[in-house]
Symmetry: C2
Subunit: 382 residues, 2 copies
């Protein structure tokens, strides 16, 4: 089954709102074996919507549209595609405008409200079950995907390690390298008739990939995040962690507690943005701040050990760096970040040199801190 | 000048990556008077790219594409649109694949790499100046936009206050209500021949809107954020602030320090996720934790006053709540959050009842805390 996603709204067209709806719908459809072939965004305008509906309904069996003119747009939608079928109203439990489903032999057309929470609820409860049933009854080849999350290895090195790719993938599978701030994701795709057969093929390829990569390079597959893996491992070990954050100023604590259940392993931390706070709350020696400076291995180590001691946790982790745009120097340019992880008896620290973008530097610092914690946690059992 | 944006990539189609490139490009084009009429995303596939290029180049004078097949895609691009013109290579300072610009009388076609930092640099340094010049030489009506940021008033009340809209907008202007987690943004649009004339019209409408709204409802216009306004006001007053965060666990500190120069006003804070930390670091009485509980006005007030005292700042702000999915009770359901702002002599606290989504509850808590700080800062001069 091929699908097109049509999102309607001037706020999308002018870039004021990022189109998260299209990505969410696409991910849901892909997961149940629908092949999404196009995303289109058009203006909230009768003529334009009708033109897009006509164009995008060609060559697909499923067309999902969100947003638009509200109550009147559904009549418009029906007119535009000239479907003879009756319209099924899809209950909206979170808002007023309902969804609409037009079911023709050649095209399933679904019209949904643009508010993400309303759209998602209608999709999950009403639309996806219908589509899943239809896909499974089709009996055609569907491409199934699995994503393997790696950390700490650059794309070029990963590509070398997995070369020659044919040996890893066999005949019909594909592999995409998707780098982001957390590391490189490897997305495997296999064409298959059924989900269980696809999973067998994906298992085999995942095994070959893991064989070729070093230990601790893969932290998970699918929807998992590095923060989830860190919290899960801490829970399994009965360990706890506290954070001491300078340039990230709370982002690491926020990332850890983004995981439900983090309270079992995370009592809290100190945001020590000013040097006086590093001394007062984390017991960093003033001599360290004066000689090595706040952005140094010595300071990161003292912060990590200080927060571990003060919060009485198994681990203490510290981040201190120059996020930018100001504060850089020839020896410590913008993007210089020290991260330390302290535990009983040992403290490791590492220096990173990121770029000039403040926000990216802060995000990368958090991801590398999580990676260091994760590797520390894995190392215990290696 | 009308424009279409074509983003290429399987990772976009399957929803693994959210299409931030299209939104960023659209916002840049809109700002210089280009009317973006369509966003399209297609597969990283020769045939599909050629089909889209042909379709999307109809009826527009500017077509921007990002991502795709790498070095070979530029030949493909040139073939697909059959442009007789020469190609200008656009230097990529951040990567290897350059941008390409094909300039025909009827169509300006720009091909850019898909990596956001590379795409943005080429757009800013090479592409936007060329487009701006062309737009200004056209002499046609362009729609100019201005966004007014409000906080603390629901959309329905704002609509009432601005009714009848014709009196505010006059004949040709438009007004869109765009609610998000921070409040409701009001986007005014006016058609005009030139930027300075448009700004006059926008000034007039902005004035009428501000007249009709209560004091402290509008915190800024354009690209500004509530965090920026808070940091700016603190700088102007020579004041400082410290944070005590429970359920947000660092998100508020991260939001404040997202603003460059925040170090002048923000020494840090305490992430007091566990109750023991609230007592140990913020001096919250154990009797408060035992009787009123951690999610209470008493606890929020004690946290705000405690962090203000410990960090010796002008303001102390505290957030404590039940983010979910667990931890709710009949009296304090998931989504219950207390926020307090302490300063010399007075401490205000307020209870919020958000929804059931953990991530949204944490974000809303941060925005309402910033709104309370901002109103406190504004109140001093009211």
């Amino acid at each position: 089954m091929k699908a097109s996603i049509l999102t309607i709204g001037d706020e999308l067209l002018i870039g004021q709102v990022i189109n998260t709806n299209a990505a969410w719908i696409a991910a849901q459809l892909t997961q149940i074996g629908v092949e999404v072939v196009r995303h289109v965004t058009c203006a909230d305008d009768d003529v334009d919507i009708m033109r897009c509906l006509n164009e995008e309904s060609q060559g697909v069996q499923l067309l999902i549209l969100t947003g638009g003119l509200g109550p009147t747009s559904d009549d418009l939608t029906a007119d535009a595609v000239a479907l003879p079928s009756a319209c099924t109203v899809l209950v909206n439990r979170n808002g007023t405008a309902p969804g609409m489903l037009f079911d023709d032999k050649n095209l399933l057309l679904v019209s949904l409200p643009g508010v993400p929470s309303e759209m998602k609820d209608i999709m999950t409860t009403s639309v996806l079950p219908i589509i899943r049933q239809r896909v499974e009854s089709e009996g055609t080849l569907i491409r199934y995907y699995r994503t393997i999350h790696t950390v700490g290895i650059a794309e070029a090195y990963l590509a070398d390690m997995l070369s020659p790719l044919e040996e890893v993938l066999g005949g019909t599978a594909t592999l995409a390298f998707l780098p982001n701030v957390a590391g490189v994701r490897l997305r495997i795709g296999v064409p298959s008739l059924a989900e269980d057969r696809a999973n067998e093929a994906l298992d085999t390829i995942e095994g070959k990939i893991r064989e070729r990569l070093p230990d601790h390079a893969v932290f998970g597959t699918g929807d998992t995040t590095l923060a989830e893996e860190v919290v899960r491992l801490l829970q399994v070990r009965g360990s706890t962690i506290a954070v001491a954050e300078s340039c990230t100023a709370g982002l690491l604590g926020a990332a850890i507690t983004d995981v439900p259940g983090a309270s079992q392993v995370f009592p809290g931390g100190v945001i020590s943005y000013a040097n006086s706070i590093k001394h007062q709350f984390l017991d960093v020696d003033e001599s360290i701040l004066q000689t090595a400076g706040a952005v140094s291995s010595e300071c990161a180590v003292a912060m990590a050990e200080g927060v571990r001691r003060a919060f009485a946790t198994t681990y203490g982790v510290a981040i201190t760096g120059v996020a930018g745009p100001d504060g850089g120097s020839p020896e410590k340019p913008v993007g210089t970040v020290w991260i330390a992880v302290a535990t009983h008896g040992t403290t490791r620290s590492a220096q990173y040199r990121f770029g000039t973008d403040r926000s990216a530097n802060r995000q990368r610092s958090v991801m590398m801190a999580l990676a260091m914690i994760w590797q520390e946690l894995r190392g215990q059992h290696a």
